[in-house]
C-alpha cells in the first residue's frame, strides 16, 4: 500500500486531487492509533499527516492554541500543561483499550471526538474546536470557524469535522480552546452500590449545585479486570465503587466535597481521594483501563454506549446480566463501556435493541476485523437522518475519497 507522507496543506490538496483523478480512495492517518476503530476500509493508499506536526501559535491568555493536525497529542498536552492549561474535554487515550503504542495526534483526537469524564461539565471535542483548515474531498483547502472563542460567522463547520472520523475533509491545522487546569481536585468514593443505586447517586450529585466534573461507577465485577491500575488499587477489591469528582480552587473543592458528602449520605459514607490519587483514578476511568487490551478482558469486544444519563444504570445492569459481560459507567450513567463475551456479531442485535429502547446509540469501539466486517460499527440511523447525513457527506466529499467505508458497512472501495 502506498503511504503518502505530506509536508503541508498543498501536498494534501495534491494527493486528494490525484486520488479524485484516479478514483482511488484514501485512508487518512496521523499516528494510526485509531485505525482499528470503524468498519474495515478497502483503501489502497495512506495519506499520512504525521509530518504536519508544528505548533503554529499558543496564546495562553487568549485561551487558544493553533496546531497542525499531525502534532503529537502527548507533546501538545505537556505544552499546555506547562502553562497550567488543559483541553477541558479530557480526550481519551485509546492506546490501552485498543492495544498498540501510546501515540496519537491532535487530528485523530478531533476526528474521533472521544471525550472523557469531564464531558458532563465542559462539553466534548466539538465544543473546543474553534477553527480549522482542511482539504475537502473536492481537493480544495478551506477554512472553517476562526481563532477566537466567540464566533457565529457562517455555518459552524467545525462541529461537523469533530467526530467525523476523517470522512468529510482532511484537517491540516486546528485552533482549539484551552482552559485553566483546576488547582485541586477531590473525589468522593461510595462503596458497594449496585448499578441502579449508583445511577441514582450520580443523578443526585449532578443535580446538586456543587459543580461535579466527573461521575463514574465501577461495578464489582469490573474490578476483576481492573488489575494493575489506579482503579484496581482502589481499596478493597470486589466491591463496586461510585466516583464523584469536584475541581477548583482548594478551599472550594474541599467545601463542595463535604457538602456533596452530606447530600449523598443516604447512599453511604464517602471516602475522599485527594489530588494525585483522584487524578490517577480518573485517568483510569477515562482510558477504560479495566477493559484494556492487555488485561483479562482484552479479547472481548467493547461497546461504547451513549444514552440519557438517568437510564444508564438499568440499561448497563441488564446488558451485563443478559450477556455475562462487564460494564463501566461514566458521565453520570450517560456513557456505558460494555465488554461482552465474544460472539460472531458482538451481540449487536441485543445491544442495539436495548439502547434504542432508551434513546441512545452504541458504537462497537473494539472488535476483531472479522467481527467489524459483519456488524455495523456505528449505530444505524433512521432513514431520514441517514439520508441527510449522506447528503452532508457528499457536500464535502462527493466521490467518497476520504476514509471510504469507515462509517457504513457495505461500502465498496
Amino acid at each position: 500500500m502506498d503511504t503518502l507522507k505530506v509536508r503541508d496543506a498543498g501536498d494534501v490538496e495534491q494527493v486528494v486531487r490525484s486520488a479524485l483523478a484516479s478514483e482511488q480512495p484514501l485512508e487518512i492517518i496521523g499516528h494510526g492509533s485509531k485505525r482499528l476503530i470503524g468498519q474495515p476500509m478497502a483503501t489502497n493508499a495512506l495519506l499520512d499527516l504525521s509530518a504536519l506536526n508544528a505548533v503554529t501559535a499558543y496564546e495562553p491568555n487568549e485561551l487558544i492554541i493553533t496546531v497542525q493536525a499531525g502534532a503529537p497529542l502527548a507533546d501538545v498536552l505537556s505544552l499546555i500543561d506547562s502553562r497550567n492549561q488543559q483541553f477541558a474535554f479530557e480526550p481519551i487515550n485509546t492506546s490501552r483499550l485498543l492495544g498498540g503504542p501510546d501515540v496519537g495526534t491532535i487530528g485523530g483526537m478531533i476526528g474521533a471526538g472521544l471525550a472523557g469524564p469531564r464531558r458532563i461539565k465542559a462539553g466534548g471535542a466539538r465544543d473546543h474546536l474553534l477553527g480549522a483548515h482542511a482539504v475537502s474531498g473536492f481537493g480544495d483547502s478551506f477554512k472553517a470557524g476562526g481563532k477566537v472563542v466567540k464566533n457565529v460567522t457562517g455555518y459552524d463547520l467545525c462541529k461537523l469535522l469533530a467526530g467525523s472520523w476523517g470522512t468529510l475533509a482532511v484537517m491540516t491545522e486546528v485552533t482549539l480552546k484551552v482552559m485553566p487546569r483546576p488547582e485541586s481536585e477531590r473525589t468522593l468514593a461510595l462503596r458497594g452500590l449496585d448499578d441502579v443505586a449508583a445511577n441514582r447517586a450520580m443523578t443526585a450529585a449532578l443535580g446538586s449545585p456543587f459543580d461535579v466534573s466527573g461521575a463514574a461507577h465501577v461495578p464489582n465485577s469490573a474490578f476483576r479486570a481492573a488489575g494493575e491500575s489506579a482503579l484496581g488499587d482502589l481499596g478493597s477489591p470486589q466491591q463496586a465503587v461510585t466516583l464523584l469528582r469536584l475541581e477548583g480552587i482548594t478551599a472550594s473543592a474541599v467545601h463542595r466535597a463535604a457538602a456533596l458528602g452530606k447530600v449523598l449520605a443516604p447512599f453511604g459514607a464517602a471516602e475522599i481521594l485527594e489530588d494525585a490519587a483522584s487524578a490517577a483514578v480518573w485517568s483510569s476511568v477515562r482510558d477504560v483501563e479495566p477493559f484494556a487490551a492487555a488485561g483479562t478482558l482484552g479479547a472481548w469486544p467493547v461497546w461504547r454506549i451513549v444514552c440519557p444519563p438517568a437510564s444508564g444504570g438499568a440499561l448497563g445492569q441488564a446488558l451485563a446480566r443478559d450477556t455475562g459481560g462487564d460494564v463501566l459507567y461514566d458521565w453520570g450513567g450517560g456513557l456505558i463501556w460494555a465488554a461482552l463475551p465474544p460472539k460472531a456479531d458482538a451481540q449487536a442485535a441485543l445491544v442495539r435493541a436495548r439502547v434504542n429502547a432508551v434513546g441512545g446509540h452504541a458504537t462497537l469501539l473494539r472488535a476483531s476485523e472479522l467481527v467489524r466486517r459483519n456488524v455495523d460499527v456505528f449505530h444505524p440511523q433512521q432513514s431520514g437522518l441517514a439520508g441527510l447525513s449522506e447528503r452532508v457527506r457528499h457536500s464535502f466529499d462527493p466521490k467518497i475519497i476520504l476514509n471510504r467505508g469507515r462509517l457504513t458497512r457495505g461500502a465498496v472501495a
Binding site: 483523478a21 465544543d127 473536492f138 437522518l385
Partner: protein, 497 residues
C-alpha cells in the same frame, strides 16, 4: 436600504391568491395573515432599519402543519422565511416580498421537564427566560442569557447560536442544546439527538445551531439545564486607561480564573448608562469592568480577593465589591441597560458585534476612535471583555440625509478591523442581511462555496431564507461539480514509506 435582496419572482406574486388559499387549507382560521395592516408587525425584526412586507404570514401550531406548509412551498417553488420572536439584530427574519413568512410564535409549550436527565424539551416559540423560570423552583436554569431573553425564543436562539454575558464560562447556545426536531424544506421531519450528551453520526445539531434559518425549521428543542450556582458577587473596577483595563482582563484569565461574566464599558457608554439607571458608575474613568464570580461563597470570596489584587496591580483607580444581591444587580443594571441608555442620547444607533483576540482590545478601540473622527459620528463601546466580543454602538440620526449610510460604512470598517486583528465579523448576533456582504472579508470564495454546498444538502433549491448570510448565491449543481485537475497524477515528489 443598501442591501440587495434576491429578485422577486413575479410568477409567484401573480399566484398570491391561490397561495393564500392553499395555505389556509393547511392552517385554518387566523393562522394565515394576508391583510397588509395585519402583516405590519412582521415587516422587520430587531434590525429595524430594514423593512419589507412579506407576501403572506403563516402561523402554524403543529409540526405537521409546518411540514405541509414547507412541502407545499417546496413543490410550488415559493421562498420561506422562518421567524421566532423577531428579535434578531442582523435581519435574520427580514421578510421577502415574494416569500411566505413562517412564524413559530404558536409553539409556546414546554413539552417535558426531565430533572433526572437535566434537560428540558420545548417548543421553539418558548422564550429563553421562560425555560429558566420553568425549572427555577428545582434550582435549575438555562445558561445562555442573551439580553433579549424576556422576548427572544429558544428556536431563534438555536438558529442564531445566541450568546449572552455568561457564555465565557457556560458557553453559547451550541454548547447547551442536545437535540431538536427540524422540518426540511421538503416537508421531511427529522429528529436529531435527544437527552444523550451526544447524538451518533455527524454532529448535525452543531451545524443547525447558528444556521440562521437557512437549513430547516426548528419545531422542538432539547436543552440542557444547570444547577444555579450557590452564590454570585460582582466587582466594579475603574481604570484611567483602556489599556490597563485590557491588561486586567488578560491577567485574570492568565491567572486561571474564568469569571461568570466580565464586561467592559468605555467612557461614553458609562456616562449614558449612569445617566439612565444611576448605578453608581464612576464618571471619571476611561474604562469600567464589571466582573462576576459565581460558585460556593468560599470560592467566590477567595476569587474576589484575587481579582481585586490583579486589578490593583493593573492600576485600577476604583474598585467596589457587591455585598448583596441588590448591589450586584445594580452593578449589572447599567450594563444591561446600555443599549437603551445610548438610545436616549442619540435618535438612532447601530449595534455592531465583532469579536477580536482579547489582547487586541487597545488597538481595536484606538482604531474605532480614529474611525469615529473620520466619519464624524460618536460611538459608545460595550464589550464582552472575557471573550473578546465588541459591541460598538454607532450614534447617528436617520433623519439627517446620508447619515445612516455613513453609520453603516463606519460599522463595516469596524468589522473589517476586527477581521484584520485576527477576529471575526460576528460573535453572537449573526450574519443575516446586515453582515452578508462583508463575508468575503473573512472567507475566500472556496470557503464560502463549501458552506453553500452544505446548504445544498438541506435545501437544494435555495428556498429557505435566501438573501441571508451569503453574498452570492450559486446553483447547487454548479457547486457540486468535481473538477479533476491534471489527469491521473501518480503522487509525484512525495516521500513514501
Amino acid at each position: 436600504m443598501t442591501i440587495m435582496m434576491p429578485a422577486s419572482d413575479e410568477a409567484v406574486l401573480g399566484r398570491r391568491d391561490a397561495i393564500v388559499a392553499a395555505l389556509r387549507a393547511i392552517v385554518p382560521g387566523e393562522g394565515v395573515i394576508d391583510k397588509p395592516a395585519e402583516m405590519l408587525p412582521y415587516e422587520s425584526d430587531g434590525l429595524m432599519a430594514y423593512r419589507q412586507p412579506p407576501m403572506v404570514v403563516v402561523l402554524p401550531d403543529t409540526t405537521e402543519q409546518v411540514s405541509r406548509v414547507l412541502k407545499y412551498c417546496f413543490e410550488e417553488g415559493i421562498k420561506v422565511v422562518p421567524r421566532g420572536s423577531g428579535t434578531s439584530l442582523s435581519g435574520g427574519a427580514l421578510p421577502l416580498a415574494d416569500g411566505v413568512l413562517l412564524g413559530l410564535g404558536k409553539f409556546k409549550r414546554i413539552r417535558e421537564i426531565d430533572l433526572d436527565n437535566r434537560v428540558v424539551v420545548t417548543e421553539p416559540g418558548v422564550t429563553n427566560l421562560a425555560i429558566s423560570q420553568a425549572v427555577a423552583d428545582a434550582g435549575f436554569y438555562y445558561a445562555p442569557d442573551p439580553s433579549s431573553q424576556i422576548a427572544c425564543s429558544i428556536g431563534g436562539n438555536v438558529a442564531e447560536n445566541s450568546g449572552g454575558v455568561h457564555c465565557l464560562k457556560y458557553g453559547m447556545t451550541t454548547n447547551n442544546v442536545l437535540g431538536c426536531e427540524i422540518v426540511l424544506i421538503s416537508g421531511e421531519i427529522i429528529k436529531i439527538g435527544g437527552k444523550s450528551a451526544e447524538a451518533g453520526g455527524y454532529d448535525l445539531m452543531g451545524i443547525i445551531t447558528g444556521s440562521e434559518g437557512l437549513l430547516g425549521v426548528i419545531t422542538e428543542v432539547t436543552v440542557r439545564i444547570l444547577q444555579k450556582p450557590e452564590t454570585a458577587r460582582a466587582l466594579m473596577v475603574g481604570f484611567a486607561e483602556v489599556e490597563a483595563a485590557g491588561e486586567c482582563v488578560a491577567n485574570i484569565i492568565g491567572a486561571g480564573i474564568i469569571p461568570g461574566g466580565m464586561e467592559m464599558m468605555d467612557k461614553p457608554a458609562i456616562h449614558a448608562a449612569e445617566a439612565f439607571v444611576h448605578a453608581g458608575y464612576p464618571l471619571d474613568v476611561e474604562a469600567l469592568l464589571i466582573i462576576e464570580l459565581d460558585g460556593p461563597s468560599i470560592e467566590v470570596d477567595e476569587l474576589i480577593s484575587r481579582v481585586e489584587a490583579i486589578a490593583l496591580g493593573c492600576g485600577s483607580t476604583m474598585c467596589r465589591i457587591s455585598n448583596s444581591e441588590a448591589e450586584r444587580n445594580l452593578f449589572w443594571a447599567g450594563r444591561k441597560a446600555a443599549f437603551p441608555a445610548v438610545g436616549r442620547i442619540s435618535p438612532d444607533y447601530l449595534c455592531m458585534d465583532g469579536t477580536i483576540p482579547r489582547g487586541a482590545l487597545p488597538k481595536a478601540l484606538a482604531r474605532i476612535r480614529d474611525l469615529s473622527e473620520k466619519y464624524g459620528l460618536r460611538v459608545a463601546n460595550v464589550f464582552h471583555a472575557g471573550d473578546g466580543n465588541l459591541h460598538p454602538l454607532i450614534l447617528y440620526d436617520a433623519n439627517k440625509p446620508g447619515e445612516m449610510d455613513k453609520a453603516e460604512a463606519f460599522g463595516a470598517d469596524i468589522l473589517r478591523c476586527c477581521v484584520e486583528l485576527g477576529g471575526v465579523l460576528t460573535g453572537e448576533h449573526g450574519v443575516g442581511v446586515e453582515k452578508r456582504d462583508l463575508m468575503p472579508e473573512m472567507f475566500s470564495e472556496i470557503d464560502l462555496n463549501q458552506q453553500q454546498r452544505l446548504k445544498c444538502a438541506f435545501d437544494a433549491q435555495g428556498l429557505l431564507n435566501p438573501g441571508k448570510v451569503f453574498p452570492t448565491l450559486h446553483r447547487c449543481a454548479e457547486l457540486g461539480r468535481v473538477h479533476v485537475h491534471g489527469g491521473k497524477l501518480a503522487f509525484p515528489e512525495l516521500p513514501r514509506f
